[in-house]
Symmetry: D2
Subunit: 364 residues, 4 copies
């Protein structure tokens, strides 16, 4: 409860930021899938700290170890796939003050209120380190979707603070465009300005947020389980469960509410192959909670990192007023590292719904 | 799968727009709750069609019948509570053309693609009629939350098309303010302009959308189950499962991404009673996925109604190009009737998490 | 929680023995299944009280009404199928004393202890009346299994008190053999003695139990989800959730523990069609938690009916000693009516696992 | 799906018999439980191979490592507790023939039929080695039940082949009695004969089965969730998911069907403390699916070990007739090592239902 996600393609993550390690069990993966452990590691490398000067300087190898579920390390058995990443480079000293003073807008105070206890340092389960299990599992989901349906999932940074990339075409953008720079914005001129902004804000001891966009190209048609497990509903939950998220949009999103029905509706076009085809894609690839085969497009708002070096007002665990200045090594902006996290969560939703659709609607 | 929602306080809805009826089973409701069936009916009356001239003129009594789970019609037994509303006033003729031509941005085409079959008329499960079960169940959740924790849930229309109410204080607004006008916007001067806009757009045979805001006052502290069932994640899923939703925000939302961490963080204040208290509420009442006791504030984007009287390009079920003009009796704007739906979905999430928190964290 | 069963083919039952009605929602049924409502009613007729002089003389028509999920009353839409049976012929007076004195070995005392409240009469959810929803849903599962895989499910009474039928061949017995007599034992000579025994014990104001056997012929191969949702584990749970059950066996069962491995093992035989074939079937059609295609054979122990006319020692709800003699119209032996219940629960397990297998293992 | 068990206190196991290791994640454990890792290891030691001359001579240390969920290695955080045991002492050579010839009454053939692939050696997930995760998780459940409700769970061998212990009093038997001999039968004279029987049958290259009995003393009252998650139904599923089980009984079990209602009913006795008390315990501590506070007593049938040294008829993976004689190091009788497995599964069910009862019925 709470640390598991999905119904048929189901993952369970474990691990605190400091302790033996973090990891995940992937349950329900179809048997006889060719699985590349290198691809899993590659996704983890996109997520890991210390990958560039605009991320936290913490150095962690984040080497994944697959404990079960594979034959010869390359073919799924249909049994649970357990993956573990050992914790390294621990400096609990960094977090000493934090154990006493509650970090504003962080999870310290609420974990204490909920559980009456909490991990002594580093954010415990609320640390971004927890997302390792998600990214590793998401890498498997991606390979499943690719092999079963030719589906591609790609995310990128669309806005940092108030610097927005407006020329990206979700139909065409490639992984190499995204990975071409350290901020993961495929519009290179804008990316440069984003990096400068992150540097500047980081120098102030402050932080910033922004917006990540994600596209699913060639999704299977018919995914989504009305009325509660509509595809957009499960996507919303998936990304809103990532740390630091504040908003979710699909297709036309909040701006779409400014249009009239006649402007917003996506006219159906005749197609040669019987697939549904629409003139516009305000629906974002999902209608009535079910994928129609057009690209699925979502956007996710990430707030500025809560932990900053600037001194802030807060209280300590006795409820007394105090001040706090973060001493840990934190990202001034989480978005570059959050790109693979968003892709992973989207992949997990799609993989789960692929199997659910297969379960209910493929008998005849 | 798909028609059930919640873990411990769990609902399952059933019913097409045309057929024997629609309804819901509520499972897991605590025993010995004083339940007012009148309050359930009152919520359904806020949702029902024909309640004002800016909603669909369809007349449906939507009278709820409670089949099980109550002693003397007023106290819960702890067993499943089944509620049914019979379908009335059916005019399947209205939908005749729609069975052939797929309505743009509606669910006809995707239901057909997914299931290979669909209800012959009226939208089937994709009809807003399905939300009757949600609203009835939400009314029970509200009473549970009120009696167990003194929690209040209130939603209202914040924006219609581009007319926005900017002076509403989520801490103070009352149900009577919301119900004071037919558009359910508590700022009366703005409400008047909203009604005029809906009338004007309706006369054009077109439709419009907007934004609903919802507050939870006096939520229990500690609700939310990291890392996947964070409270905001479950809220996002809950409201994004409502028909016509395109976006979700909590607290500072998308706008919050324009702030720096030092501006966005909510400083903790010393409090007399040991409860957490923050100087600002950019977090929207949830930190680290767990409620901190401050008001929970969310916003939901609703697109313009898909079915309009204006003629539109589309295809028929054979894939041939055709045009379609909606002849049914539809809302030119769903928001006034969606207000109780949003409250219901929020109440269901809170009730479920209250029981989940009780289950895991109240033994000692 | 508690009133739902299954994962993909999932049912939720509701209703007390007295009140508005009882029923069930079936979620996840594949679309485009030809469904005969008459067949559902036929199963309910096998279950209903008053069907013969050895069952309770209560007369209830138990007429099922399908509220949703069907097109033209005969084809599934893939959406939830809700079925309701109205309660009739209520004589709450019969149960007056029982509201005060706890019936020994019945659920009165434990429901009160658990919930702190209970239905005022008739056993509430603990009544056999609750099984109506199971049998109706099971009838759908049977039709699904028949159409998808040619699977047949058949149960019968194997023992009443100490009168046992020993000549039944699970491979060959037919529904007509079972329905040939009122006790539902396909060995007619033994059946006669069983009826006499039930009559005799009933005349004493007492009751008796026995054993029901059930076979699944032509099950799909590969059903069952190790390691916890092994097919026999889910079958055990399914039938042990029926009222009055005390034991479950599969294949060789308890007697099989008296054999040595060399005697108990089922040798595999070469087969022409690639299907698995075994020389014996001590496994009862399931190996390693997975169906091997051989007939699945289980047995279920039912205790003597708890409510009897004979006076018994007990306590009242204040904890004071008292005596009680049942005045309601109860079955002296539940087994004849439990036969369709066992079939229904077995069908529900198989249908669910068929979809689960389809979901995980049919992509390529 | 399939490798997870429980709703609120939920475990997910992973790992093949050969590979990186086996383990479990325990989700939903209440925070602030004092947890002894030594006690977990002690339970694993009762389960491990090589513990006596009547078990398999494989030597495995089965040393548990706790990766997450604990503060200072002794207090639960309320977050997932991950535990891993590394695989050692692998001799895949032993299983070479088995990869080709299907072992009769083992899981080789059905895993192949279901998944189209299987672990190359040692039984994969079907190996008893998988139960390590269950026993480790069960040890946590035991500590939870003890601290929260004073509950004790104890199992023992009641019968081996046809040698039965008939003088054991479930109310009084102690762990030390069970652990006093290597066969884990608390009746020492009978135990001696059981050991001799196992030795004799083992010398023949054959195997034997038997019956394990288990008692829960001082269970919380009110556990169990009618109508499907009755406590006995979940217990049945729990133990029937263990390898080699063929039957389950509660209380009077199959023999109880030979009694009349007047003989079988458990008369309620007045009690001083308001707790329910019964004159007899044919119900086995559960009535209407809910614990009444009396000891819960169950029995489980285990078949003779499938893998034997004697030559047997079978087929190979091409469907051709062949013979097979087990060469691996296997237990001639699984029961001594299965005792802690039964206790673990029972503890997991009770812990889960304790939290579920707390969740629904403890708000007021």
């Amino acid at each position: 409860m709470g640390s598991s996600f999905g119904d048929l393609f189901r993952i369970s993550t474990f691990g605190e930021s400091h302790g033996g390690g973090v990891g995940v069990i992937v349950e329900g993966c179809p048997p006889r899938l060719n699985l590349s452990v290198e691809s899993i590691q590659a996704e983890l490398d996109r997520r890991k700290p210390g990958q560039s000067h605009i991320t936290t300087p913490r150095k962690e190898a984040d080497q994944v170890q697959v404990l079960s579920g594979l034959l010869d390390g390359e073919t799924t058995l249909g049994t649970p796939i357990a993956m573990v990443v050992r914790n390294k480079d621990q400096r609990p000293g960094d977090y000493k003050d934090m154990a006493v003073a509650f970090r504003p807008s962080h999870a310290d105070a609420t974990y204490q209120a909920k559980y009456g206890i909490q991990a002594r340092s580093g954010g415990g389960r609320a640390s971004a380190r927890e997302t390792i299990g998600r990214v590793a599992a998401g890498a498997i989901a991606k390979q499943l979707l690719k092999q079963a349906a030719g589906t591609e999932i790609l995310a990128w940074v669309k806005r940092i603070h108030n610097i927005e990339a407006s020329g990206i075409d979700p139909q065409r953008v490639q992984l190499s465009d995204v990975e071409a720079n350290i901020v993961r914005c495929p519009e290179s001129a804008v990316a440069e300005r984003m990096v400068e902004r992150i540097e500047a804000i980081g120098r102030e001891g402050d932080s910033c947020g922004g917006v990540i966009e994600c596209v699913v190209r060639h999704p299977a048609v018919g995914l989504g389980m009305p009325v509660f497990d509509k595809l957009e509903a499960d996507l919303a939950k998936a990304v809103m469960s990532l740390p630091a998220t504040k908003g979710f949009e699909i297709g036309s999103g909040f701006d779409g509410t400014l249009l009239k029905g006649s402007e917003h509706n996506d006219a159906f076009l005749p197609s040669d192959d019987g697939r549904l085809k629409t003139a516009t894609n305000n629906s974002g690839g999902i209608q009535g909670g079910i994928s129609n085969g057009e690209p699925i497009v979502i956007r996710v708002a990430f707030k500025p990192t809560a932990t900053i070096r600037k001194e802030q007002q807060t209280i300590d665990s006795d409820g007394k007023a105090t001040t706090l200045a973060g001493k840990g090594r934190h990202d001034p902006c989480v978005l570059p590292r959050a790109v693979p996290m968003v892709e992973a969560m989207v992949a997990l939703v799609l993989a789960d719904h692929l199997l659910r659709q297969q379960g209910q609607c493929s008998l005849w």
